[in-house]
């Protein structure tokens, strides 16, 4: 082994990015290219009475104006890359362009393609839409009641209900020494990746619509083809390096619009959303109302947990049922509780639709259960770490669904290590008060097992010993493709700089599945490892033959075959040449399959539905200004069992970035919706942390090597942002004695909690 696994490595793409050489989606142009724009609804709920596009069509320079009637299959279902049909209930209807009813403000009503962006913009203003405003419904609990305003035409506003039961929670609560009750609320938030949604599409000489787009899911080529009514092989998606994704580029953004405009005009077409469009109309993180009751005995042992979770799905189904499934299964957190009753519901409203966002339904209940745990510890006078020692799951524990955990669980160790590293509290003068908070979290990596997830990768050695990898992995900045290069370099004993990778192309790279669900290192890492090992085996057996030794004594290192205990070296190129002469395949393409299960009974979810979990904890120190309620996060320690850090620099990057991403969730981020109208329309109002707001994050990575990924790695992308929010609100409690049960913990909210009326 050449030993690049576990070493901090500059990513293969870092230099190009540092030089500004990467051609992101909007950086790409083609001769004769038109500019596409979307006309968006001005109302959150309305009936479209008529659309008059004549004036827009007559504007010089306009090449197409499309409305719902121009879309071959305007009503379609939201898939997110899965090839397995899991049926209705999970796959909801959405419309490419609004028809009949408008369901949220910012919903696409018409498309324009024109010679310039300005002409396209002007054309939008010439489209006359006659709306009949409708009352709408904006609160999920109200929307769930019988007789509520119907968001759609016929379907119920309630999209999905799940239940998980274990033991008898009500009975156990009656015998509990302490019962903690609380209602927790989390807001709509935006992903706020710095690159807005963008792509360029064109028709090639084979009649294929090519779409070069910033996306997490190139498998949307199937959905685009379905809308157009063309075979799958007539749509090709090429994913660019994405300027951030975080779940927001998991659903289709510009792809279908571009395809429709290219199909209509025959010309290449670019579409890039403005930041305001992005905030208004791409998916948001689900707001939840979470009612929790936890019962424990005086010694701290939890005996019962009841939770009722309601999420706002917004105007269309998208990934809401999946997100809710994560929430339900994660509702008890990493605690072993014998008596559990979880009910969960997601409901349509006339708010902007909600879908995937880093943490995908796991982080909302994490805020609730970790707040409950902290309160329980305080009530019983038990140290917050001790309450977790008493209750945390370990290998062999049984989860609420009856799934027996069969892999190593680094709990409560991650919390203890994080707290220990934080050390003694800082002393600050009045009016500041300092507090320390700890929270743990668990989140799956890899998709729900009933999706029957797979990934593929292709590795090829060249005649000069360099290596080419092809894998359809979208790279959204987490080092998704670089870690594959590292795995190949390790297995084939070549330098990282000698490995070249092609990613994210539905026509030319083996489909690797989505860059979502913290699955790429796990899935495509394993597929690549499998392909590389197969090739390695082939090269080593040839070398064994050439050297006259057994292949188990051979290793590949620094471009040579080395023999155990000998100084002999055989250059890899000679082995490659020998294989080529004999007509042996110098490539290997492999598929990795995750463990599969069937769709559970949704009214009584049982068994294992995730491949594995990543466990982590945050310990934070905050200072609260007791006169203004302002919270400053002074220090953050993030401790995770990463399984194995393939590239410690990348792994730390996830932990540091994840902590600050959701520090924003805890303290400042909220897409404010006022009866369906976004009141935080730009990055002037929707505030994310700046460098001046972010403290240094100290990372502690435990490497127990018991993950399902290559070399025992676990996934970190999404788990990394779990547990920071409750750690911060628990620290606020420690500082000033108020429990913030509704995010974000703005200065005003904290001060009102402290002082009541101002």
């Amino acid at each position: 082994m050449s030993g690049v696994i576990g070493k901090p490595m500059p990513r293969h793409d870092a230099w190009a990015k540092a030089r500004g050489d990467v051609v992101y989606a909007d950086d790409f142009s083609l001769p004769g290219m038109l500019y596409g724009k979307v006309l968006r609804s001005r109302y959150p709920a309305a009936r479209i009475l008529s659309i008059d596009t004549k004036k827009a069509e007559a504007l010089p320079g306009v090449h197409a104006v499309l409305t719902a009637k121009d879309v071959p299959n305007n009503e379609t279902v939201t898939k997110f890359g899965q090839s397995r049909d899991v049926g209705s209930g999970f796959e909801g209807m959405y419309r490419v362009l609004a028809d009949k009813k408008v369901r949220f403000m910012g919903e696409a009503v018409a498309l324009v393609a024109a010679e310039t962006e300005r002409i396209a913009q002007e054309a939008l203003e010439l489209i006359e839409v006659d709306y009949e405003p409708l009352p709408g419904v904006f609160d999920p609990e109200e929307a769930a009641r019988p007789g509520a305003y119907p968001v759609g035409e016929s379907e119920s506003n309630v999209i999905a209900r799940y239940r998980i039961r274990r033991g008898d929670a009500d009975e156990a609560l009656r015998h509990a020494d302490v019962v903690i009750e609380g209602t927790y609320r989390v807001p709509f938030v935006d992903h706020a990746y710095l690159e807005p949604e963008s792509g360029v599409a064109w028709l090639d000489e084979n009649g294929v619509i090519n779409i070069r787009v910033s996306t997490q899911v190139i498998e949307h080529f199937r959905g685009v083809a379905a809308v157009l009514g063309v075979p799958h092989n007539k749509v090709r998606i090429i994913g660019t390096f994405a300027g951030g994704g975080f779940g927001g580029k998991e659903d289709i953004t510009v792809e279908t619009y571009l395809a429709l405009l290219v199909r209509k005009t025959g010309r290449p077409c670019k579409m890039t959303w403005t930041r305001e469009e992005s905030i208004l109309s791409h998916s948001k993180r689900h707001p939840y109302v979470m009612r929790y009751t936890t019962g424990a005995m005086a010694d701290g042992k939890i005996v019962a947990l009841k939770a009722d979770l309601i999420s706002d799905a917004g105007a269309y189904v998208y990934l809401s049922p999946w997100v809710l499934m994560y929430s339900a299964v994660n509702a008890t957190g990493p605690y072993e509780v014998d008596n559990v009753d979880i009910t969960a519901m997601t409901v349509l409203t006339n708010n902007t639709f909600t879908s995937a966002n880093r943490g995908f339904g796991a982080i909302q209940p994490n805020f609730a259960y970790e707040s409950q745990m902290d309160e329980l510890a305080r009530r019983l006078g038990i140290d917050p770490l001790e309450i977790r020692r008493i209750n945390c799951i370990k290998k062999g524990s049984t989860m609420s669904t009856g799934w027996k955990i069969d892999r190593y669980v680094a709990l409560p160790e991650v919390a203890e290590r994080a707290r220990e590293a934080l050390g003694e509290p800082t002393s600050m003068p009045a009016p500041w008060k300092v507090g320390i908070g700890v929270a743990v979290g668990m989140m799956s990596y890899g998709r729900l097992m009933f999706l029957h997830d797979t990934s593929r990768s292709h590795v090829r050695v060249e005649m000069d010993g360099s290596v080419t990898v092809r894998c359809g992995v979208p790279d959204i900045g987490g080092g998704q493709s670089s870690s594959l290069c590292q795995i190949v370099a390790e297995e084939l004993g070549v330098d990282m700089s000698n490995v070249n990778i092609y990613v994210s192309d539905t026509a030319l790279t083996p489909l690797a599945g989505t860059t979502t669900a913290t699955r790429q290192l796990y899935m495509s890492g394993n597929a690549t490892l499998k392909a590389a090992r197969e090739l390695r085996g082939r090269l080593l057996s040839k070398a064994a033959e050439m050297l006259g030794v057994s292949s188990d004594r051979l290793d590949l290192k620094e471009g040579s075959v080395i023999v155990e205990g000998e100084t002999r070296r055989l250059p890899l190129v000679k082995v490659i040449a020998a294989c080529a002469n004999e007509g042996q395949e110098l490539f290997s393409e492999a598929q990795f399959n995750a463990p599969f299960c069937e769709v559970p009974d949704l009214s009584d979810i049982k068994g294992q539905i995730f491949p594995d979990f990543t466990f982590g904890a945050h310990a934070v120190e905050v200072a609260v200004d007791t006169e203004t309620g302002m919270t400053r996060v002074l220090r953050i320690v993030s401790c995770y069992d990463v399984g194995r850090a393939i590239n410690p620099l990348s792994a730390e990057g996830q932990l540091e970035g994840g902590a600050i991403y959701c520090m924003g969730y805890a303290l400042m981020e909220e897409v404010v919706m006022d009866r369906g109208i976004t009141r935080t329309p730009s990055l002037s109002e929707y505030l994310i942390p700046t460098s001046a707001d972010a403290p240094d994050v100290t990372c502690i990575m435990l490497e127990y090597g018991d993950g399902l990924g290559p070399y025992g790695a676990k996934g970190l992308g999404e788990p990394s942002c779990n547990s920071i929010a409750p750690a911060i609100t628990n620290a606020i409690y420690d500082a000033v004695g108020v429990r913030i049960k509704s995010l974000p913990a703005t200065p005003e909210k904290v001060l009102r909690a402290m002082k009541g009326d101002l």
């Binding site: 002007e122 006169e627 203004t628 302002m630 400042m668 404010v672 009141r679 935080t680 002037s684 109002e685 505030l687 942390p689 700046t690 460098s691 001046a692 707001d693 703005t746 200065p747 005003e748 001060l751 009102r752 009326d757 101002l758």
Partner: protein
Amino acid sequence: MYKMRYAAPRTLTEALRLLGEEREGVYVVAGSTNVLPDLRAKKIRPSLLLSIEKLGELKGIHADGDVVTVGALTTINELLASRDIELNAGILHQAAQRFADPLVRNRATIGGNLANASPAADSAVPLLALDAVLDICSARGEREVPLSSFFTGPGKTVLERDELIRAVRFPSDSENQKAFIKFGLREAMAISLVSVGVELRIQKDEVAYARVAFGAVAPTPMRGFRTEEFLVGKKLTAEVLDEARQVASREVRPISDVRATESYRRHISGVLLGRAIKMALGGGMS
């Protein structure tokens, strides 16, 4: 198709002539940090963008004797770099440090920040506390307007359509004690939720002179006349400070919006006033 012209005269005379001739539809541009977002949001639809960037007459910081004069085109970073400002108007220096972010400070000008007349304008608050006066010019002549009567509403000032701010003047008095505090929802690139500037002179343990200004708590940046009146002649005991906070909380006229409620802004106005007074007097609060 709607068209817009651009002009960048090199002399003040030429600029004032254009401004006088065009009147309707002319929009004066300096650093363009506000104009471009406003154009983007279609808040304005001018027929002529008149850039005054090249007017040397509007540049430079001069401190002579009792008066500091700051040319309207002085950028916020030029203010920050100026020793004259740091020595004579530390409060303006403090405000400049919290202004938007380091990049915007390279373009945003003091004249533009005032003419834009945002209720939250970060340069207005210290300048109100400094009793600044604006030199305003037009083809018709020159006039001076005290900053305290310059703003008339959000985005509105007493500037006539043909007028430009030429410079901001304020007395250089390093004897007085001053402080500025900005309270925003994050550490940089934040619009003030409340900002406060104070200038005080203490004689024989009593407040002999007080200037108090608030940002983001009224339709315009405002002087806290009632708070000033309350403070003058008082010894700054803990009780007096407490009462001063109440006076300030009552005096401001904030609104509720997506960032905070009216009552919270009132409360913060009082808190910041108390802190600014302590800071001005060397209490070392931040």
